[in-house]
């Protein structure tokens, strides 16, 4: 129960009940739209168009929406594009950032701070700042409308935050481990690979979840750098469907598309939410 004034038990109960009620009401506010979407995705489009009220349940389970979205709505292609771009970016950004953060978090040398600040400065760049020059750079490098182009952009954009978090993580690992391993004749690389990297696992998982959610859901870069219909990522394909009002003909398929985009992020969050909240909370307290 929340902090309540000591008084007659009845008023305490009422207060406790009201507090709980507010929690449940907000739970409904959060969950109901999602449930409504799920229900709409298994409802025949005609049923939606003719219904006058948002409170009715679907009359029949109509799973064909997903088949339609997947094939005719091109969501199978969008899904593959999203998976490839997200996976490629995550591998590249994690590899590059882990190596850099290891050096910046553990080695003492004159340029350490300046290089760290050079990376952190990127956290203050809004995407819009580099958008146009980046467009013409990609054009010259023949990377417009390619997986690689989008992967490189996502990698660059995610590097500052990832290096920031991982440098902090590596710098807290005990240095005795490094010295002991070095005395045992471990090469510098072996110290990194066999000792430090496994210890940094929780930090790596946390930043990877953040990067996954950021990249999987990203819209603006995809909108600017992908104009080829076949290369659209899920958010781009979905937004395009909604913006061009193509759904006027088949609403059920659009809802199925929304569910297809939403579900992987929800699954990742559910499996790994412990790392996500812990990472957020230690970050908030450390500052």
């Amino acid at each position: 129960m929340g902090p309540v004034k000591s008084g007659p038990p009845l008023s305490q109960h009422i207060k406790g009940f009201l507090l709980y009620l507010s929690l449940v009401v907000y739970l409904a506010v959060v969950v109901y739209p999602m449930v409504w979407l799920l229900l709409s995705s298994v409802r025949k489009s005609e049923e939606l168009f003719t219904s006058e009220s948002p409170w009715t349940l679907p009359k029949h389970l109509y799973l064909q929406n997903f088949g339609k979205a997947w094939r005719e709505g091109r969501f199978s292609g969008y899904f593959l594009n999203s998976v490839l771009v997200t996976a490629g970016s995550l591998i590249l950004v994690t590899a590059a950032a882990t190596m850099a953060a290891y050096v910046l978090g553990r080695f003492r040398f004159r340029l350490n701070r300046p290089i760290l600040f050079y990376f952190l400065a990127g956290m203050t760049f809004p995407a819009q700042l580099a958008l146009i020059p980046l467009f013409f750079l990609m054009l010259r490098l023949h990377l417009l409308n390619t997986y690689l182009g989008l992967i490189l952009i996502y990698t660059g954009a995610s590097l500052p935050f990832t290096i920031f978090v991982l440098t902090g993580f590596f710098s807290t690992l005990p240095s005795e481990l490094h010295d002991a391993a070095a005395i045992d004749g471990c090469s510098e690389f072996a110290v990194f690979w066999r000792i430090m990297l496994p210890l940094a696992r929780p930090g790596l998982i946390t930043v990877t979840i953040f990067n996954f959610l950021g990249i999987w859901n990203e819209y603006l870069y995809a909108l600017v750098f992908i104009t080829d219909e076949n290369l659209r990522t899920l958010p781009l394909g979905l937004a395009n469907l909604a913006i061009n009002k193509q759904y006027d003909t088949d609403l059920g398929a659009l809802f199925a598309g929304v569910v297809i985009v939403m579900v992987p992020a929800l699954i990742v969050y559910n499996l790994l939410q412990r790392y996500l909240t812990q990472g957020l909370q230690t970050g908030a307290l450390k500052g």
């Binding site: 902090p3 290891y102 910046l104 809004p126 603006l220 909604a242 957020l280």
Partner: protein, 294 residues
């Protein structure tokens, strides 16, 4: 000695990929933005005409730009304050061993892991004039005459308040919860024994302890709000009315739609300066926080 050389080599090789990728795809284009902003350029021709600070003069005289700043500020302030108020209320409620606290916390965070595009599409149906939930609720509570097409240009900006709050509460809740759980439970118990009211406990124990989170949260909200793009874009089908632009949508329209690269890039530089100033405040805030963290 050999060891030191080995370390230097590894340090160099390990820094290289990140430095190259970051310099080429983030810093180099960002610097180029400054030179493009000093020119008149359609993007079609290789040559740019140097016009000095002309684009910046035009930005400052542009009524759409000032309207956009106003929209950015409105989108920071109104949903921001409401988001934090709700997050703090739920955090202080959930901090006290409530049954199912874990479920509430996890579920409230859900909207935050969804793409803004998904949330925008979801809410465009919640706002649907005929079978949307929003008008459904209005009719249910007898306010049927207020029902309307909420995503029409007249109410486009206010219509963004609810989905922003809906997305943000869970995120800030987690931050507040971390701060409140740092407060020793005995403090609350002692206050209760002394007969302090719920409000007084909140005012004198909880509020001072969550103040640092307020400052961090304010910075997140400001940075996010200055870059606002996705909701307006999807809600208006890519065509916001001139009075409904934010800096980001106006920049997109001037460059990608109207090919006025110099002007649009000047706009993005102005955005950067505003975001940068706000970020400096972040780092200030973060360093001030140490005293509280011990």
């Amino acid at each position: 000695m050999l060891r030191a050389r080995q370390q230097r080599l590894l340090g160099f090789l390990f820094l290289l990929p990140a430095l190259v990728l970051y310099t080429l795809f983030v810093v180099y284009p960002a610097i180029q933005a400054f030179s493009i902003s000093l020119s008149l350029w359609s993007g079609y021709t290789p040559e740019k005409e140097f016009v000095g600070l002309e684009n910046y003069r035009l930005v400052l005289q542009d009524s759409v730009f000032w309207g956009a700043i106003k929209n950015n500020l409105v989108l920071i302030a109104i949903p921001g304050v409401l988001t934090l108020a709700l997050a703090l209320y739920f955090a202080s409620t959930l901090a006290h061993n409530i049954k199912g606290a874990q479920i509430f916390r996890v579920a409230y965070f859900f909207p935050n892991v969804m793409s803004v595009v998904v949330v925008a599409i979801m809410w465009s149906f919640i706002y649907h004039p005929k079978w949307g939930i929003f008008n459904g609720i209005l009719r249910l509570v007898g306010l049927g005459h207020f029902t309307r097409a909420w995503l029409a240009q007249d109410t486009l900006i206010p219509a963004i308040f609810a989905p922003s709050i809906w997305m943000g509460v869970g995120f800030y809740l987690v931050l507040y919860l971390a701060a409140i759980q740092q407060i020793p439970q005995e403090l609350f118990d002692a206050a209760k024994v002394d007969g302090a009211s719920g409000w007084r406990i909140f005012r004198h124990i909880t509020w001072p302890m969550v103040w640092p989170v307020n400052r961090i949260a304010a910075v997140f909200l400001v940075l996010g709000g200055l870059k606002a793009f996705d909701f307006i874009w999807v809600f208006s089908y890519g065509y916001p009315a001139l009075r409904n632009h934010t800096m980001a949508t106006w920049m997109y329209q001037k460059t990608i739609t109207e090919y006025d690269m110099g002007y649009g890039t000047a706009l993005s530089v102005v955005m950067f300066v505003l975001v940068f100033v706000a970020s400096i405040i972040t780092f200030r805030v973060a360093s001030q926080k140490r005293e509280w963290d011990q």
